[in-house]
Structures are given as C-alpha cells and as structure tokens.
Symmetry: C2
Subunit: 415 residues, 2 copies
C-alpha cells in the first residue's frame, strides 16, 4: 500500500496544480509532450523491443504482438493524437448556469476537473499517451496501471512525458505509472479512496468485471457490447443488408460490433436468406432458433447462451420474433446497455424502439459501429460507458469533468 | 439472495413501465398516493406505535424516538411533500442537444430515468414516502431498505403507496421494501448488479462507509460534512460573526453545519474574542491551536484529530493561519468535499478561494447552511453528494436521471 499511497499523494498534489492551470499552459505542455515523443523515438522503440522479445519468449499470439508493437508511424500517430487534443475546447471553468435566489445569493455551477483519474488497461502502449493527454486537458492528474506485457514501453513513454512536463514547469506527477504490475497492487489501486476520484478500466470483459467487483473507488464501467440489430417487418432490406454486414464485419473485435440479429416473422422468409447470403460471403457463421433454421438450412443451432454472447468473432446469433414488443423484450433482456438498432420504415415502430430500448445508443436505420467518440463528434474518446451514472455512451473530455457550486453572498444566513 | 433477486426482477419490470409513463399519469399517481397516506392515517399511526413501543423497550434515546415518531401533522407533511413533487417539472424526455453529423446521422442526447434506484437509510420513516416520490417522478423504480427500528412504519407506508399505485393501474413494484433488515441482506443488496443501477445511502458516516466499502453497484456517496469557515484578513466581522453563529448553531446535526474555523493571523487578535463571545453565548466549546489559545483563554486544546472531526455537537475547532494559501491547504486537507466558506471583502482572495477549494459548494460571505436542495431552488432533495462522479452537491430530480443517445439514420454504414 505504501507505493500506491505515495503515488496517490503525489497525484493529488499535481491535480490541485492542474485544476488551476490555464488552457494556454495546458496546451503548451501537450505540444511539448507530442514533440518529445517524436524526438525520443529511438528510445521508445528500444524499450518496446524488450517487450516484444519477452512477448515472443512467452509465446504471445500474433494479434497481441501486433497490438503491443510500436513503430515510427505509430509513435507519430501517438504524437498527432495529442496535437488533436490540443485543438479541442477546454471544458474547465465554464459556468453552466448561475441564478440569483430570493435572498440575493448568486448560485452558479462551474465545471471543474474530476481530480485524480485511475486507468487500468491492457497491452496497447499508445493508451499511456492517449489517456494521459485527455485527462491532462481536462485538468486531471492520472495514475496509469498498464499490462505487464507492455511495462518497458509504458515506462519509457511515461518518462518522456514526465520529462517534457518538467521542462514546461508543470508538475511531472500529472502522469504516474504503477510499475508493479501484480494483481495485488492492482487491487490496492482499486481501494485507493481519498486519492483516486474515479477509476476507468479499459480492456476485456474479465478486466472490467474484476474492477467493478473489487473497487471501492467510484468506477466508470466501459465496454462489453452485445449489440443487436432488429429487422422490423417494415424494414427496407436494401438498407438492412449493408447495415448488418457493416455492423458485424467491418471490425470484429470492437464493442460496438453487432453480435445478434432479431427478425420479425412477417419479413423473415424474405430477409433471412438475403442476410445469410451476405454474411456467409464474409465467412460469418449464423446461429439461430428453430424458426430461422426452417427458413435457411445454413443456419446452425443457437443455444440460450448464444444470445448472451459477445463473440468478437465471425459468429452472429439470430432470433425470429412475433412482434416489436417481443423484439424489445428480447433485446432489453440480453443486451449489455451498449448499442442497439432497428431497421424500419415505420414511423411509430422507430419511435417506440428509441423510447423503450434501454441502452447507451439506440439507432434507427444505421450501423451500431457509429458508437464512438470521434464518430459522435467529440474529437476524442476515453472509452464507452455502459453504466448509467455520470456518463453514458462514448466519453470525451466532458466525461472527465465534475462540477462545483460557487456561491456569491453578502452576509446571508439561513433562517 | 433469492428474496433480493425477486425484488430486483420486479423492480426492473416496473422500471421499464415507468420509463415510458407520461408526466400526467405520474402526477396523477403521486396525488393519489398523497391522498391515500392521509386517508390511512390511523393505520400508519398504529404501525408506528409498534415501532415506538419496541424502541422504548430497547432503550432508544429521546432524540431517536422523536425521529421515529409519526404524528397526524407529520403524515400531512409527508403527503404535502409528495404534492410539492407533483409541481416540479418532469426532467424525463428532454433532448439536451441534437446535431447532424456530416454523414447525415442526427445524434441527440435524451434524458432518461436511471432505472432502479436502491436506497439504504436509517430511522426516519418519512424517507420512505419522500424517496419513493422523487424516484417515481424521475421515472425510476425504487428498492428501499430502511432501519430495523422503523420496520412496521415503513411497511405500512409502502403498503399504502402500493395500494394507491395499483388503483391508478401503475405497477405497484415501483416501490418495494426489503423487509429483512439483517446486515447480510443489506450486503446482498449492495451486490445486486444487473438489477440496481445506483445505490444511495442516506444516514450517518458508518452507514455510508459500509455502503462505499461493500457495494459493487455504483454508489452516490452522500453526506458527511466537515465544513469550514475561513475568516480572511480582509473579513468584515459584522458579517463574519452572524455567519459563524448561524453555520455552527442553527442546526447542530446537519451535514452542512460548520465544524471548523480558520482565522488569518492579521485579524486574529480582533476576531477571535468576538467569535468566542458569540459562540460561548450559544454554549459552544471552542478547541483551538496554540496561537488562538494565547489570544483567548476560553479556548480549549485542539488535537490533530479535532481538525478531522464532524462533531454534530456544540463543539468547533479553530486554527490560526499565516496566509490564504495556508488556509486553502488546511481546508483541502481536512474537508470532506462538502461546503466551505470564506469571509472577505477582498476581491482577489474571494476568487482564489472559489477556484482553489475542492468541495461541492464554495461560498463567499454566506453561511454553509445553505447547501440544500430547497435552498438551491431544486424544489426537492434526495441527498447531498460529496463525490465528484455523476452529481456533486445537493441532488434534486436531475440527479436521478441518466441520458441515452438517440440516432436517426437513413442507411448509414461506417467507412
């Protein structure tokens, strides 16, 4: 606990300095950090090579090795990402509303940083720079705990950032890395109340579950998406098929990828063969219920479990329903509160789906793949919240802020 | 766990009905509930009498017995409280912003209910009706777990409310009470992820700590307030003294009561004797540091612990500081993120205090006692949040809502 308490105290100190740093100084420091990352390219590549060698020794998969790898281009992209964050409007200091009460008190609500943000993430080292820059722009200090696999890369990136901050006379503890990557220390971090104001896990379902289960610090739950597309009886199949193919296959491993189809029985005979044609062509296996299998023999058996799966793979589940009501009930039962879409030309059905589906993002006639901070126009993304508290859906800079009430008085006392 | 899962499932069902109930129907049901509470007065008083008798048998203190007691007047106040909530604007359904993206997608953010709210509270039975009505107005189902001492009163109130809801054809499980008041069941409630969207503890420091420590469901931390008043060297003492007396003594047991004074050394010789005069007259004991004791012999010794205490009693701590900077550092170290005030006529000092103090409500020249949903003009209060996530400060109806993104498309797929 000693290590973490030290990090916590240093972060809190840094956060109180960051809270009152003006936008000019924050942007200057971010530009400095971006330049430094490019300048220290060789150093970063050398450290990354150590992680790569260790990964190969430990039999890491090709896909994971690729995520872990830094290249000159990726370092440049990392630096450019920070420069984009410089361009974003600084959310801090805005007074959201200010009203005078009958007793003359002037009460305003002002946007302020969260304070200290903890981020627990997995193997991609670019998250280190990216998460720091977003938190920093919103005036927060950050404590990062990355994966063991990327420890050399993450440490090198942190050191470059700390060096650049120090040169700008900004508290270098605005970014700190937990270098002990044991589970024990991660668990301690989840209980660092009083030092960490919010914890954001970024990674797979296992990581997120562990953080939600063990953390006493407030958590923003991100991530897992069992996203549905419902093909209504009034669907335009010319829109439905491209949307389904896009939502399932454009990228398999993302949380906004479609994992399950729901089809109205009135359109099933016509729609299902077309859907199966298009998906089979992309190598996708379809697992459906009894009725769907009667329509198309290429459909495999779906079990109850399939409807709850986030496959992140070339598999999709399918269910035929008798009504919009049944579709909504099915989706609200199995979804993870991420992104759900209806394909329909029927006004009332579209509105009802938007109203009754309980999820962060609900679509009419568009691909679920749009649930993303950049696609939503935030210019950045720290993750996608699937909880209802604080922030829901793609989180940009605003999700990294809180508010405080400021009250101007003139001697008022309460009666 | 079975009991709670049943409650959870029923609450979720009710919440999906409530989410789409229009304002007219919600208000009609609330008026019905208010009338029913008055109509069933005798029944409620009888049940309450059982709790009172048990309390007396168990040697409950006068103060606690008073909090537990229902009277005709208090039942009327409870009903009138609900009628006031009817008057409040319904927050649900507002679209906070809607923008068209370059690809034609129309993306809006709509205010929706949280879903199922869990509330764990102590002995005041009026919380049962009050918390239900606020949650209901914002479209949420509520699962209440009150104190053992008030179980008969709470059960009776819940039954009257459920009866009134049923008569209006509203799902009666919009309010449910956990009738098993064991700690074991409370702990299970704190882990009811998937059924409860947010848990709000209302009560003393012990209860709140237990919920924060044990809950895996997202929590809004309410409550404890170690509130400070800083008397700046440029303070107008004609304002300072009444504000200090009001903030300390108007009500001793509330979280926005002032528990600690910080006085600038330049004004200490003049201010401290006046402050002590005024507080001693109200029977308040002052515990100060060495320098303050040299100024006024009526001041007792303060230990380090005193500066961290929320006394909720006729005691206040006092510290003399050399500068505004030291005052801010002291307050940011010991405060609980609730309410802090500066008394000053100096423009720059006022602004700096507002900027640098980290708390839910920061005041210039006014009593900390104003931190309250009614005083802030929200027309209601479900508690005062001392955390930075989701809601900070007094929480009205808005704090009981979330948002979802609604997206109108026309066949868009992601490139």
């Amino acid at each position: 606990m000693e290590l973490l308490e030290t990090l916590g105290k240093q972060a809190k100190e840094a956060s109180s300095e960051l809270a009152i740093l003006d936008t000019y100084k924050k942007n200057r420091a971010l530009n400095f950090v971006a330049d430094a990352l490019e300048f220290c390219e060789e150093e970063l590549l050398e450290s990354n090579e150590m992680d790569i060698q260790n990964g190969k020794k430990n039999g890491m998969s090709e896909a994971l090795l690729d995520r872990l790898t830094l290249t000159k281009e990726r370092i440049k992209a990392m630096a450019d990402g920070i420069r984009q964050i410089v361009q974003l409007e600084d959310p801090i200091g805005e007074v959201l509303s200010m009203k005078q009460r009958e007793n003359g008190l002037l009460i305003g609500q002002k946007r302020v940083p969260l304070g200290v943000v903890g981020i627990i993430y997995e193997s991609r080292p670019n998250v280190t720079a990216d998460a720091f820059a977003l938190c920093f722009k919103a005036g927060n200090a950050v404590i990062l705990r990355g994966g063991k696999d990327a420890i050399h890369s993450n440490t090198a990136i942190m050191e470059v950032i700390q060096g650049a901050l120090a040169e700008c006379n900004v508290n270098k503890n605005s970014i700190q890395l937990v270098t002990d990557t044991s589970h024990e220390v991660a668990n301690q971090m989840m209980k660092l109340n009083g030092y960490i104001d919010v914890l954001i896990p970024r990674g797979g379902a296992g990581l997120i579950k562990a953080v939600v289960q063990n953390s006493t610090v407030p958590v923003i739950e991100t991530g897992t998406g069992n996203c549905h597309i419902y093909v209504d009886e009034f669907a335009d199949l010319e829109k439905a098929i491209p949307i389904i193919v896009n939502a399932k296959t454009q990228r398999l491993g993302t949380c906004n990828t479609c994992e399950s189809l729901v089809v109205h029985e009135e359109i099933a005979n016509k729609a299902i063969p077309l859907i199966v044609d298009a998906l089979v062509e992309k190598g996708v296996e379809i697992r459906g219920d009894k009725r769907s299998k009667e329509i198309d023999v290429r459909i495999q058996d779906a079990t109850e479990e399939d409807y709850g799966m986030e496959y992140l793979d070339r598999i999709i589940s399918l269910k035929v329903v008798e009504s919009l009501k049944e579709a909504i009930a099915h989706i609200n039962r199995y979804n993870t509160g991420h992104s759900e879409a209806i394909i329909t030309e029927h006004y009332g059905n579209a509105q009802r789906f938007l109203n009754e589906i309980d999820a962060a993002a609900v679509y009419v006639n568009a691909s679920t793949r749009f649930t993303d901070g950049f696609e939503f126009g935030f210019g950045a993304e720290i993750g996608i919240s699937t909880q209802k508290l604080h922030a829901r859906g793609p989180m940009g800079l605003l999700a990294l802020t809180s508010t405080k009430y400021i009250i101007y008085g003139d001697g008022q006392i309460r009666q």
